[in-house]
Amino acid sequence: MVTAVFLVAAILAVVSAIVAVSHRDPVFNVLSLVVTFFCVAVNYALLGAHFLAAAQILVYAGAILVLFLFVIMLLGAPQTGGDEVKRPVQKSAGLALAAIVAVGGALLALTLKIAPAEAVPAANTQAIGRLLITTYGFAFELISVLLLAAMVGALVLVKRKH
């Protein structure tokens, strides 16, 4: 049962990822990526990382991709294509590289000696919260500064000069 869920989520994730990077309509790309992120959230839940699953949907699918959709719609869904210079050598090189990375990573995962999985402690959300505040407190504060810097940067970049 669990294996069936994993298989469905994994196959759907890969298929919608392929659609996300190959379709020519940007809105469809974003929507397929939403499906991919959903499947990744399902995988997190299968790993026992429930907080991460909720955070994945909240942050990635619910905020980042909405931002993508906003920008696509504000820019009028520009579709690049048409009279460009065809670069078949670069295209096949890129495809080959990506294939090497994917297949190589998969083979590596299969041949690596990985110890059997141990159980993740329950009360996931509280444990992560405790870790965030105590052990990784400094990184936590740094992340908030980073987000502030990103916000200010984004505002400065798109400010119109009147």
């Binding site: 809105v27 909720a54 949907i57 909240l58 699918a61 619910g62 959709l69 719609m73 959300t125």
Partner: protein, 344 residues
């Protein structure tokens, strides 16, 4: 295993019944309530006191011609109302709507009577799913091939995203005070102490305002206002797809009311009432329904009493008013918890 499935199926059935019958009931309450507030009678011809008006309305909507605008993005046009309804229905499963701790059906205890009682992340799931509601609106606005639609859709989704933050911070105050993200723990904590609205009144005000904005109800419904944007993101929708949007709006209202009741007003508990067994179950159901109905009436009351916010006023309120207020509420709760006050 099968007993658990039957219990979950039963809970889902009760939930679906509550949610789907809330829609026509709310349509009737809205129209009669609006009429009484506006000193007129409202629908009173179809059935006693106009009670069959929503049924007649849905039949009319069902038979209306289903127009698809030329140049509309076919797939997305059909997908958008489906997403809206789907997301609206999904959010309710983490809200406890009764007390089944002492009741066992087929040998399994009913627990805090929410459908997903094993879901560890509780209210985080609810925030996550409601942040997906933006997609229905944005896709509806985009796929209709209409400038007013697009504007309405973008405005509405910007409004939703902005007010999600304040809502999340208000919820965070509650989570802080309770020490758990699971909503049945929140209800149990309120039964043991005061209702959360008393120590966290600022949080409640923030959450109430954000709930009005999240459900696109007046005074925050600029994005779908008839007079400004010709019904905004659902202007090009007719017949059952429009009905789907209306349904999703009312179901969102029910969820927002239920969440307010659970987080701030004690959920299904009444102070001083500790019944057990089947009697406790039924009484807790009725208490919950009564409280939720009060908030639904509040939604209707405010809609016909307050003028609409302009869009820049709306965004200014969300970012410069509610967000600092929610943060102050969080600081206050953190200080109280650090000082180990027991009534927080």
């Amino acid at each position: 295993m099968w007993a658990e499935l039957v219990v979950i199926g039963g809970k889902l059935l009760v939930l679906a019944t509550i949610l789907l019958t809330a829609v026509p009931v709310m349509v009737w309450v809205e129209r009669r309530g609006a009429a009484f507030i506006q000193d007129r009678l409202g629908p009173n011809r179809v059935g006693p006191m106009g009670l069959f008006q929503p049924i007649v309305d849905s039949v009319k909507l069902f038979f209306k011609e289903d127009v698809t605008p030329a140049g509309a993005h076919k797939w997305l046009y059909y997908l958008a109302p489906m997403i809206s309804v789907f997301v609206a229905l999904l959010t309710f499963i983490v809200i406890p709507f009764g007390d089944g701790r002492d009741v066992s059906v087929f040998g399994t205890p009913l627990g805090g009577l929410m459908v997903a009682s094993g879901l560890e992340v509780g209210v985080l799931y609810l925030l996550a799913i409601s942040s997906l509601g933006v997609y229905g609106i944005v896709l509806a606005g985009w796929s209709s091939n209409n400038k007013y639609s697009l504007l309405g859709g973008l405005r509405s989704s910007a409004q939703l995203v902005s007010y999600e933050l304040s809502m999340g911070l208000a919820v965070l105050g509650i989570v802080f005070a309770t020490g758990s993200v699971q909503l049945d723990q929140v209800v149990a904590a309120q039964a043991a102490r005061l209702w959360n609205v008393v120590p966290q009144l600022a949080g409640f005000v923030v959450f109430l305002t954000a709930a009005f904005a999240e459900t696109n109800r007046l005074p925050f419904d600029l994005a779908e206002a008839e007079t400004e944007l010709v019904a905004g993101y659902h202007v090009e929708y007719s017949s059952m797809k429009f009905a789907a949007f209306m349904m999703s709006e009312y179901i969102n209202m029910v969820t927002a009311s239920a969440l307010m009741v659970t987080l701030f007003f004690g959920g299904w508990t009444l102070p001083g009432v500790h019944l057990t067994g089947w009697l406790g179950l039924i009484v807790s159901h009725l208490v919950f329904l009564a409280k939720v109905s009060c908030f639904m009436w509040l939604f209707v009351w405010v809609r016909w009493s307050l003028p609409r916010f302009r869009y820049d006023q709306l965004m200014r309120l969300g970012w410069k008013g509610l967000l600092p207020l929610a943060t102050l509420n969080l600081v206050w709760v953190a200080a109280a918890v650090a000082m180990k006050w027991t009534w927080i």
